[in-house]
Structure formats: C-alpha cells, structure tokens
Homo-oligomer: 309 residues x 4
Amino acid sequence: MIKDGIKFSGSEFVKLHGVEIDNTFAEAFELWYSSFLITAINKKWVLEAAREATGFGTSMIGCSSEAGIEGFYSPAETPDGRPGVGVIIFAVRKKLETDLINRIGQCVLTSPTARVFAMGEGRESIDTGYKMKFFGDGYEEIRESYGREIIAVPLMMGEFEIEKNLPVSKGVAGGNLIILAQTQASALLAAEAAVEAIDSVEGVITPFPGGIVGSGSKVGSKEYSFMHATTNEKFCPTLKDKVEGSALSSEIGAVSEVVIDGISEDSVKRAMKAGIEAAVKIQGVKKITAGNYGGNFGKVHIYLRDLFE
Amino acid sequence: MIKDGIKFSGSEFVKLHGVEIDNTFAEAFELWYSSFLITAINKKWVLEAAREATGFGTSMIGCSSEAGIEGFYSPAETPDGRPGVGVIIFAVRKKLETDLINRIGQCVLTSPTARVFAMGEGRESIDTGYKMKFFGDGYEEIRESYGREIIAVPLMMGEFEIEKNLPVSKGVAGGNLIILAQTQASALLAAEAAVEAIDSVEGVITPFPGGIVGSGSKVGSKEYSFMHATTNEKFCPTLKDKVEGSALSSEIGAVSEVVIDGISEDSVKRAMKAGIEAAVKIQGVKKITAGNYGGNFGKVHIYLRDLFE
Amino acid sequence: MIKDGIKFSGSEFVKLHGVEIDNTFAEAFELWYSSFLITAINKKWVLEAAREATGFGTSMIGCSSEAGIEGFYSPAETPDGRPGVGVIIFAVRKKLETDLINRIGQCVLTSPTARVFAMGEGRESIDTGYKMKFFGDGYEEIRESYGREIIAVPLMMGEFEIEKNLPVSKGVAGGNLIILAQTQASALLAAEAAVEAIDSVEGVITPFPGGIVGSGSKVGSKEYSFMHATTNEKFCPTLKDKVEGSALSSEIGAVSEVVIDGISEDSVKRAMKAGIEAAVKIQGVKKITAGNYGGNFGKVHIYLRDLFE
Amino acid sequence: MIKDGIKFSGSEFVKLHGVEIDNTFAEAFELWYSSFLITAINKKWVLEAAREATGFGTSMIGCSSEAGIEGFYSPAETPDGRPGVGVIIFAVRKKLETDLINRIGQCVLTSPTARVFAMGEGRESIDTGYKMKFFGDGYEEIRESYGREIIAVPLMMGEFEIEKNLPVSKGVAGGNLIILAQTQASALLAAEAAVEAIDSVEGVITPFPGGIVGSGSKVGSKEYSFMHATTNEKFCPTLKDKVEGSALSSEIGAVSEVVIDGISEDSVKRAMKAGIEAAVKIQGVKKITAGNYGGNFGKVHIYLRDLFE
C-alpha cells in the first residue's frame, strides 16, 4: 500500500520522500491563549508592531509568554480594510491578562497607526481594550466602529483603536518536530522549509526565533538540580562519541527542531504534517522524529505516523 | 550668519531646511546597559536572533528592559568572520543581570547557529556567558577562541558559543525628538527617515517598534492617579480643539516621536542631530521639538539648537 | 442613497471615504502575456528568481516587456509543494517568445533550486521549456513529473525543471489610478497602500518599481518630436503656477500613479477598485483620477465610478 | 608555515579552514561599466529603484548588460543626505549608453522620489542625465545643486534630479568562485555567505539572482552548435556517473558558483578572497575552485591561492 508517497509494509511505516518518519509522538500540553489581529497603514508597520509585540516570547521557561505571528491578512480580510497580522499569545491563565496589557500597551499602542481587533472565539474574554483606555487620561472614547465595540485613545499620531474585549481560550502548546540531517545546512534549510509551510496553516505559531529551535532540550538536568531544562545530549552532534546511547548515527551532522503552539490539537496536527512534508523535500534530511518526555509531562500525544494515515 | 542651512538672526535660531527647530531640550536620564554582538551563519539568522532578543523591549514602564539593534556588522568586522548585529539592553542595574540571562538564554542560545561576543568597554562586567553553561548539563566547555574566553554549550544544531563576561556600563536613555507635520504620512515618513539616519550612528538604539513612538506621553495623569504615563493631549491632533493650550497649530495633522537610548550623552546627541537632519528633508514637516518634563525627571538635558552650533 | 461609503446625490457621485472620485476613465489596451509559476527551496530564493526575471520590465517604451510578480503561493498551492511566486510577462506577441526565453533562461534557470510551471490557460502556447533544453547539451531529459510534461536540465546545483509549454493569451495593459494628495508623503503612502491591496487580487501585476509610477506621462511631446511620452505637466506640482490649465488645486502637493496590467479586463477592474479603496483611507488624499489619452490610444475604457456601482 | 589558517607544505598549499583551495584560476575579462548612486526618501524606495534598474541583468549572453547593487550608503555618505544604493552596469562600450538611458529612464526616473548621482571616476563620461531632460518636455532645468551639475525634470511626484554626466570606465567581469559541497543546502548557504561577505567589498557586484549561479556553464556546446554556453556536465551531481571525467567525487552533492564583476582587478580579487573565506566556514563545504576556459577567453587570470599569500 502506498499513500501520499509513504509506503506501509504490513503495519510498518517506511518512508516519506525517502526520509524515515520515527514511530514516536510529540508530547504537547494544554495552555491558555489569546489571539488578536493588528492592522496598520501598511505591511511594514503592521509587521513592526507584531514583531515587537511577540518578541522575547519563545518559551515560558524564561519569557512571560510564548508569542508569535499567526499569519498575514490582506486588506480584503480585515475589519478596517488595512493590512493585518494575526498574533497569538500563550501563557498560564493567571499571567495572560497582565502579559496582554504589557505587550499590547507597550508594543502595539505605541506603534504608529496600529489598531487591534479580536480574533476567533473564546471561552472567556479579557477586557484588555478597556484597560488601554487609561492611557487616554479621560480623553478616550468608547464607540461602535467596524461593527465592534471599540476603545479609542487619542495619540500624537492620531488615535489608537482597540476592541474592548479580547477572547481567551485553551489551546495546545509544545507540538514539535525534530529533523535529523546530514549537514547543519540541511538541518537549517529543512526547518526553514517546515516553518514556511506552517506559516500558511491557520491558528498556529512557531514561537522560537524565526520559528526554529537550535537547542532542543530535555526536561531537568543530570548535573545542575536547579535547571528545569537542559541540552538534549543524545541529539547533540558534537557529543556523538562522548555520550552513551546517542540518537545520532554517523551520517547525521546536525539536528533542528520546530516547536508549534496552536489554538487546537487539530491545528497543531495540521501544522506538524505540513512541516514534515516540507522538511523531507530538502536534500540531506535523513529522519524526522519528535520530542517527548516519557508521556508524563503533557497530556496531548501526537503520533507522527498518524498524521499521514 | 548661516550655518549648515541654519540661519541665526542675532541670537535667534530660525530654520533648518525650512523647518522650525524649537528652542527646547530633550530630557534624558542615566541608565545602565549592556551591549553585545550576535553573529550567525547569515544575515537572516543573525537578524532573527537579534529581533527576538530585543522584542517586547520598548519602555521600562511595562517591559523588563529597553532593547534594540545597534547596527549591522559585516563579516570583516566580527571576531568569527560571520555577519553580526550589535544589540544594546538598557535596564536598572539590579534587573539587568536577570534580563540578560533571560533574553540571551531564551532568544539567542535557542537561535540556530548564533554566537554572542562582548561589545565595547564596561565599568563592570556580568558573567552571563558563565550562567549559560548550565544549559550544557556538564557537557559544556570553557575555551579560548577568537582571542576571547568562550563558553561552549553543545546543542542539537552544533554548539552555542558565548563570551564569558559581558561588560555593563552607564549610558543615557530617553533622548528624543518630536516631529510636527502637516499629514500623518509626513509625520510617519519623517520619523522613518530619522530612524534610518540614526541606524548608522554608533552606540545608540531606538527601542520602540520600528524605532518610532506613535503615542508620545506625559508623566503621570490628570484623571487616573495609578498611571505613570498617559497621552500627551496637547500634542494630539484629534484633541486640538478640545484641550486648552494645544501645542498644535491648525496646519499640523499628526505628530511622531523617536526615542533614543545611547551608550553616552555624546552618542545620543549625534543620533538626535542625524535624526533631525533627515526628518526636516521630508515635505510637510513643520517643526521639530523634544519631550521634557520640566527638567526634574532626568538629569541630562539636550538642547536641540545646541546640536547645530 | 449611500453605497459602501459612497454618496450618490441624484446621478451625481460624490465621495468615497471623503475623497473625490473623478468622473473619468482609465484608458487601457489589449496586450499579449504569458504567466508562469516559479518555485524554489524557500521564499528567499523564489523571490530572488522572480525579482531578477521581472526586473527592467516597467514599460514597453524602453523595456523588452512589462513584467511583475502576480502573487505568492504557499507550498500547499504549488505542484511541487514548495513556496511559489506567480509571474506575468506582457509584450507584443512577436517579441514575447524571445523575451520569455531570455528572462527565464538568464534569470530563472540560473537561480539556485528554481523550477517553472505553467499558470492559467492560454489561447496559444509557447514551448519555452523545450528551448531551455539546449542548455543541457544533450544531457537533458523529457519526463512526466508533477502531473506535467517537464524538461529537466542537469545543473551544478542539481536540475532545472521547467514545464515544456507555457500558455500565452491576450490580457489588458495600462489600467491605472492617479492619486492627488496634500503632501508627497500622503501620495506615496496612498500608492503603497493601493499596491499592497492589489497584491492580493489574482491575475494582475503592477510593473513599475515597487508598483508605483512617480512620473506619470502624457502621450507624445510638445517640444521634442522624437519623444513618445513626456511628463504630464498639468499634474506636476512644481509647475502648478507655470503651466496653463494645471489640474492641481492649491492644496495638492504631489501626485502618484499605479499602473496595472492584468489577464482580463475584469481582473484589472478588481485591482483598480481594491487600489482605490485602500488609497482613500490615507490621510491627505484629496482626489482619485485616471490616465487617459482622449480615448484613441487604447480600446479598453474603465470608468472609475462604475467600479463602485 | 601556517598563514591565516592556511597551511603551506613546501610549495604545496593545503587547506583553508579545512577546505581544499584548488590550484587554478578564475578567467575574467575586461569590460566597460558605469556606476552611479541612487538615493530616495527611504531605504525601501531606494532599494525598489535599484532592484528594478538592475533586474534582468545577469549575463551578457541574454541580457542587455550585467547589472547589480554595489552597496548601501547611509544618509551621512550621500550628496543629498538621503539613503543611497550604489549600482554598477557592465556592458560592451557601444551598448552601454543605450542601456543606461533605458535602465535609468524606465526604472529610476519612474521610481518615486529617486535621484541619480555619478559615482567614482571614469575614463570617459556619458551625458545620460542630459538625455533624461527630454522627458521634461521643455519644463526641465539645468542647475547647480549638491555641488554638482544637475538636470531637474518636473514629475507628478515632484522632480527627478540626475547628474548631467555619468562616468564610464573599464573594469573586470567574470571573476568567480565555485563551491563543491556535501549537500545542496551546504552549497547554497556557502554561496549565500560568500555573497554577503562580498556585499561589503567596495566596487563589485554579483550580477546573478541573489548573487548566485546555480547553473555554472562551459563555453560552447558539444551537441548544439548554435549555443554559446551550455551546462558544465563535469560539475553536475546528477551526471556524476554518466559523464567521463566528472570533477565531482562521491562525497559531493551539489556545486554553486558566485560570479563577480568589479571596477578593477584588485576589487574583484578582494571580493573573491572575502567570498572564499566566508564559504569555507559553512559545514559541508569540501573544495573551492574557479571557472576558466583554457585561458583563451579572458585576459585576466586570478589564481585562487595567490589571494591568500
């Protein structure tokens, strides 16, 4: 049986585009998020606002949240007919409110010509927009505009308009794929290809720099008890001959990882699938696997081979 | 007397390129900073690392630090012969150490192929690199490389190398220029031109999104006592007819601001001068002024007209 | 009666978003074109190939063709699952074949990892791919791949694959909109907004640099008989008081133009509409008009006000 | 003896950063060029003008000239205090004049806010600026501005200013380096690194798409007598086992090339050196060689190993 270029031999999954897909799962977990749409006068300025607002947001280990760009929206797709960028912020529920206020207040309100609209549906909502009104020092207005309830704060550049309530819901963080390749260049270009393919999947972000993690980690530490996560030595090419049980065969020169957070398990699955299909097309890619921690860390287990059934 | 296109008539300063330079000063203040150089395999990846590491870093009011890109360095200018980006992080001294560990640990160590080198001289130094070693879980090495003392942490993509000690010193934050223009478009393009000119001044950053503040503020609030900073209503075009003492004449349609943090008062002055010279060339710019708070907030007072003497 | 923000008073069209839409038409004309899809290993490289292939292609007056980027395609939308850019080349029928061979042969075949696929349907087809085979010097192959008939030319970087036949058809060139604004900055940002909105309309290109014409012209010359097109003095702000019958009122500081070529009159109309709707949102825009030459130059007359009925 | 990481053993050159530098030369040739500086309101627009003006300009085999971006200039470095891009156009002497008129007239004059200044010294000069005046239809002016003799043509967006005379001189075209690597990804990233390093060398361009040639060629053809250049089968990885005398050992997966044109032999040499030093740092690069044609095609022979003495 052959499906989509994948051969199954009996129950055995063999290869996708000549690349082994490991028989394992990505261990992900539920996490709260808020998604919103930024618009601005042009693509440059909507992108500047979105980048600033989602920067320093790779992992909750040392950042206030995991933040990223979900996608670009053309003027025809946004409430105010201007170019838009969708942003998603993942954090523990009790920190999400403060983080939204800080990221939007410091990075979007300050950005010339930016506006903020709610995106998607939420189980709950946070009145971030309402909090922004205080910057208006009494000169702010609440109005109906673009078919929505808008707070308008007068600024030097004009007005900052933001929808009063932003939805908040539970999503899935920590989806991932790990790429084993012959050279560092292949590992890098394969991860880039995965990120670019994931860019067109709705409802997901890849929160690490440029979407790629060069430093995939294991939970905890053997040496330093105070560390929550440390390097995954079994996947480090420079340690291939120094650690017992290295996961890297002699032909592997480097390993890259893409981490995916999404608004649902399904969106994370679609992103992982699109990412893998793009990565295997890069010459020098030898194997795709995923990060898990024995299954006790996160409740969401996404099996790689299931993605292609 | 005419100097550089500026006319002085008696003691009176008249115009630069036809634009009034206000007889006022930018009120800035001393603040600690650390500057470092990121290098990577190519420009794309050094920029991704630098953007992530300096994101969510516009103002200390709601961010952990004020962070930005200082400049680009060609392979011929960096210790390892790869493309580089200089980064500066400004924060209060006691928060700077944690912020460096978080920003470098979460955003640069994780970024594929990145390295970190110290930039400039410091009064003190912080052993950020040494702290990074714990991620190596015992597999890290300390070595002499590139003529420097380097921590090398094995990673999936290869190694993360970082100089052991990063210098820390006192700089000047809050330098600024404010642009009054006929249209929002002129205010925006003039601020963009200022930021682009400032990009080639050494030792400075413009920490706001894309370098521009669309929401210049005043200290405190008239209405909401819990607010440290609120909109500067006298410079808001939509409030021109609603507030007493608006600073905006009828011909002004919008106001933009550029905030500059630098490693010295002198570097901030050079940046303000370059920014003003670029901004006044944009059609529709009518006046350049600067933000101050009565002179009691910051000890560094930079008079605009002094920049052109 | 109010439609989409446009007021009609009796038979009189008044304003769109506060901006006058002139009661005139864009004079366009039929022209042959070929459209094709370039794919490559990532977005950077597909864009490099497309930019080189469509450069020096603004106007048939001094270029071999009018060429531009039609749009971006995600890996999910292309035959080979890689990022894609659609390109359209407009030229007179007899020059189109040579131009395709030169532009593809010099700029796409040479570009690392690029492939070329036919896009759309054509009245006729040109065997550009077949011509490319000669570069293979006998080592080329003809094969069925991606469900298409492909020429594969061995190269240093691997292979150049191109679909054997590219479709050719008749489209419409010279669609346009002209923006009159208060400042040069408003004219520029309004034209940028128009181009960005047009970017998401299918089947069109804006062949001038960055999509914008800063030098809108009239047919012929009053002074130099050998010139086919010269500056349109009635729309030049610096000549407002020097020429008789200037089209610019005292409040107009600059004028920008966007030229649109499309695969059909309908696609050009949709592009013009999207462009106008984006342009009028920029502060300082006062009037939208269009370029025509008395109606004798081109057979396709697109009335601006008809776009909003 | 060890020099700069290169070992010489007796007269034998061994390796640079572990990579073999072939004992051969790049065969280049003398060619006329003109270089000029474009400035514009901001980096986006100077880059748009420069890209359009240098597009479709990879090789004289099928393009009117070989054209590229020489470098970026900060506002402090340009005559008019705006961001600048240096451009160089190489062509046979008799075609250079027409090509300059077409490329500047169609791609720079049309670009909003652009200006053109002469760069460097020339043996001869071409009055391209003077030719541009005809577009002004009698409304143009000749003036002294920026310390230069300037033609000013009134346009819809304001004025197009261009220096009257552009210098023309003899340079060197066809400098090159060829990179043999383990994977296609390594070959691509190594060539990218070379191009980025060459970007900061003055007086040179890399005219192919993104600076890289994926289709390095040999002179003439064995099979098709009408072809001036065809694929270099001995360097094609897919033909390794099909041609006699393949230059590729079993470990080579792909080959990339960078072609360099410069204003002097010395500038081309500096570029080749910078390119090689950057390329050898990429993991998976095995050998650097250069293209030559028996030494009869071009008079300028640049030996790779001489660059490192």
